[in-house]
Every structure is written in structure tokens, then in C-alpha cells.
């Protein structure tokens, strides 16, 4: 990555993430929300590339954009009769929600300013992360790697049990 343009790319991606994120939570048509969710997820993948995490960026696109977002659109289509336009999409908690959210973000940003991070700059950033991650998943992190398969299996069975017809 050319370091001269990296800051501009960061601001570009961040702008897209924030704007599309805001549209996801405010638009009236839930289908449009899903499309902006996809845009937002793509930009987050761009952020990962800037951070040198190319494998995570690929996983993000494949799993989030490819699977989860499509799943959302499926659900919207299947429930289309009730999620159309013209129905109020927001409840009465908007003012409270704004206050809570702004307070939370303010606390987080304040803490951000106060914390001295233990940043290591002297270590080289690896170019290719895929091989290293693959090795770690099969050695140090083999326990969580095996356990997460049970998470997926439980979710799979659970979804079938819940969604099948009698």
C-alpha cells in the first residue's frame, strides 16, 4: 500500500462506513437498508486492507457480504408483505436512544484521548497474513477452532428446527 494515499483512503472508507451505517439505521425501506449494509460491510473490508489484514478483509467480503447480507435480503423478501414502505419503522424511543448513544460515544472518545496505548512500532508488519493465521488456527488456537464448529452446528440444527414447517 502506497503510504502517501493511505490517509485519504482511510477518510474515504470511514466516510462511507459512517454514512451508509447511518442510512442502515434510519431509512424507511428495509430493503434499501440491506443494500446500504452491504456497502458499509464492503468499506469495512477496505479498512481491514489499510490495517494490513488482507485475510480478514477477504473473510469479511466472503462471509459478511456473501452470506450474512444475502441471508438478510432473503428474510426481507420472505416477510415482504409486512416490511414494505409506508410503515413507521422507528419506535418512540428515538430521543432517549440519541442521548444514550451520544453519551456512550462521548465516553468512548474521551477514554480514547486519555489512554496511553502500548503501541509497538519496532516490529515489522507481515506482508502475507493468510499462512500465519492458518498455522496459528491449527496449533495455538486449535481449541477455539474446534469449538466454533460446534457453534455453527448448533446454529444449523437450531435454524432448521425453528424454521421448518410441521
Amino acid at each position: 500500500m502506497d503510504s502517501a494515499i493511505a490517509p485519504y483512503l482511510f477518510y474515504l472508507f470511514s466516510f462511507v462506513v459512517v454514512v451508509s451505517g447511518l442510512l442502515v439505521v434510519t431509512l424507511r425501506d428495509i430493503f434499501h437498508c440491506a443494500l446500504f449494509l452491504i456497502l458499509c460491510l464492503f468499506s469495512v473490508a477496505g479498512i481491514y486492507v489499510l490495517l494490513g489484514a488482507d485475510f480478514i478483509a477477504a473473510v469479511q467480503v466472503l462471509l459478511y457480504v456473501g452470506a450474512i447480507a444475502v441471508l438478510m435480503i432473503f428474510a426481507i423478501m420472505l416477510t415482504a408483505k409486512v416490511s414494505g414502505i409506508g410503515i413507521k419503522q422507528q419506535n418512540e424511543q428515538v430521543p432517549i436512544a440519541i442521548i444514550t448513544t451520544v453519551a456512550f460515544v462521548a465516553i468512548a472518545l474521551y477514554g480514547l484521548g486519555k489512554t496511553i496505548w502500548n503501541i509497538k512500532t519496532d516490529v515489522a508488519i507481515p506482508d502475507n497474513t493468510t499462512m500465519a493465521i492458518g498455522k496459528l488456527l491449527m496449533t495455538t488456537y486449535v481449541v477455539p477452532f474446534e469449538i466454533v464448529s460446534v457453534v455453527l452446528l448448533a446454529a444449523l440444527i437450531g435454524a432448521i428446527v425453528i424454521a421448518r414447517r410441521n
Partner: protein, 103 residues
């Protein structure tokens, strides 16, 4: 103009705030689920950024973020199945209309 860890963390905090706002205000169950996905993405930005700046040599944060993505997929699967179930039973997916028992 140098982008530092704080920039990424600020972005993550804002995205988390957006997600929280969505969860608190959306009436549509799928909309709430999408907002929760935004929150998970904020977490992942944090994890990958910490990984890059705090532990650049090992991949602890990146590996955690893979697991977060997988778990998010699992939760979305179950969640959308439950959404289809309420649609079938109530003909409605607005959570504040589904109120046989009071909250």
C-alpha cells in the same frame, strides 16, 4: 497526515454508536438484526486495529475477529429463522407489536 490507532478506534466507536441507535429505535426485527451486525463490525475494526498496533507480531486480534465473524453468521442464521417463525405465527415482524406478555 498520519493515521494512528486512535483514528481507527474513533471510527469503531462511532459505528458502535450507530448500531446501538439502530437496536434501540428499530421496530423491524430484521432491522434490529442489521444494527447488531453493525455493532459486530465495530468490534472487528477495534480488534484488527489493536492487532496492527499493539501486537503486530502475533495475530491474536485478527484471529479473534475471524471468530467474531463466524459467530455473527451463526447468530444471524438462528435470528432470521426466529424472524420467519414470528412472521408465520403473528404475520408481523415489528417487535413492539409482538406483545402478548408485557416487557
Amino acid at each position: 497526515m498520519e493515521i494512528s490507532l486512535a483514528h481507527y478506534l474513533a471510527l469503531a466507536a462511532i459505528l458502535l454508536g450507530i448500531g446501538m441507535f439502530g437496536v434501540l429505535t428499530r421496530r423491524n426485527a430484521v432491522g434490529i438484526l442489521m444494527s447488531i451486525e453493525l455493532m459486530f463490525n465495530a468490534v472487528n475494526i477495534n480488534l484488527v486495529a489493536f492487532n496492527r498496533y499493539v501486537t503486530p507480531a502475533d495475530f491474536t486480534g485478527q484471529i479473534f475477529s475471524i471468530f467474531v465473524i463466524v459467530v455473527a453468521a451463526a447468530e444471524a442464521t438462528v435470528g432470521l429463522a426466529i424472524v420467519l417463525l414470528i412472521y408465520r405465527n403473528f404475520r408481523d415482524i415489528f417487535v413492539d407489536n409482538i406483545n402478548l406478555m408485557k416487557w
